[in-house]
Amino acid sequence: MDDDVFKALADPTRRQLLDALHESNGQTLSELEARFEMSRFGVMKHLKVLEGAGLVVTKKRGREKLHFLNPVPIRTIYERWVSKYAESWAAPLNQLKQDLEKEE
């Protein structure tokens, strides 16, 4: 599952699609397509990859399909792959800041 998420994120158009949904959730294909200089088919293909990775979830509204951002896989990646490394940097820096402030 992590592999699918990393692969899905490794493309600028797909990251832009996530940003577009973050800005305005629950958009139709037509609404999303209007934001990109790309064919409907191209946008659809990218949405499929995002759906496959669980980053986009669709719901039906009548005949329309609405696309929702699912941020949970990104959170899971953050917990496994980001916080561990980022915090090991942040902790000594915070300590340094505190030490410096004490000396003042």
């Binding site: 959730n25 719901k59 899971t76 917990e79």
Partner: protein, 163 residues
């Protein structure tokens, strides 16, 4: 994908969707959602209390210290489906947001379960704090059920020492 769409998708912008796959059984997942002790282990230390009868009330928080949310259990169908009204109580800012709705759906997929949390009936431009905690909660729930461990990322147990 869903056999029945419980929500009326009137305005997609008034709705947020969260999904996660967890290697567990529907029964264990249901227990983790409704048991106050288990719930506190992945919900920022917050317990949820209710008798879980359809139409009953629930409240979540740290007793005597902080109130987080309250509402009614509109539908209770263990171990598949729980629909609740949601009134956030953790700050003056969110108290004014009114009542929204949270639907929990559990669907077995092979040896795992797909858990979908749909937070809808939000008003347009709703404070994103209302639903911003779900990714951390669901990620913590997965970690708890699959490894027995608790998340240790900053803030993940922020209320656990509140009482």
């Amino acid at each position: 994908m869903n056999e029945r769409e419980p929500w009326e998708v009137v305005d997609g912008r008034a709705m947020a969707v969260f999904e996660i796959y967890i290697k567990t059984t529907p029964e264990k997942l249901w227990e983790a959602i409704t048991d106050p002790e288990l719930r506190s282990k992945y919900s920022f230390g917050v317990r949820v209390e209710s008798d879980w009868a359809p139409g009953s009330a629930y409240s979540s928080g740290v007793p005597g210290a902080v109130e987080i949310a309250a509402g009614e259990n509109l539908e209770v169908d263990p171990p598949r489906r729980l629909v609740q009204t949601f009134q956030a109580l953790w700050s003056e800012g969110v108290k004014g947001e009114g009542t929204s709705r949270v639907t929990w759906e559990i669907e077995p997929v092979g040896t795992s379960c797909r858990l979908a949390v749909t937070h809808d009936q939000l008003h347009e431009g709703a404070n994103s704090e209302l639903f911003g905690g779900w990714p951390m909660i669901l990620s913590g729930l997965k970690t708890l059920l699959e490894t027995g461990e608790l998340l240790d990322t900053p803030g993940s147990l922020r209320y656990s020492n509140a009482s």
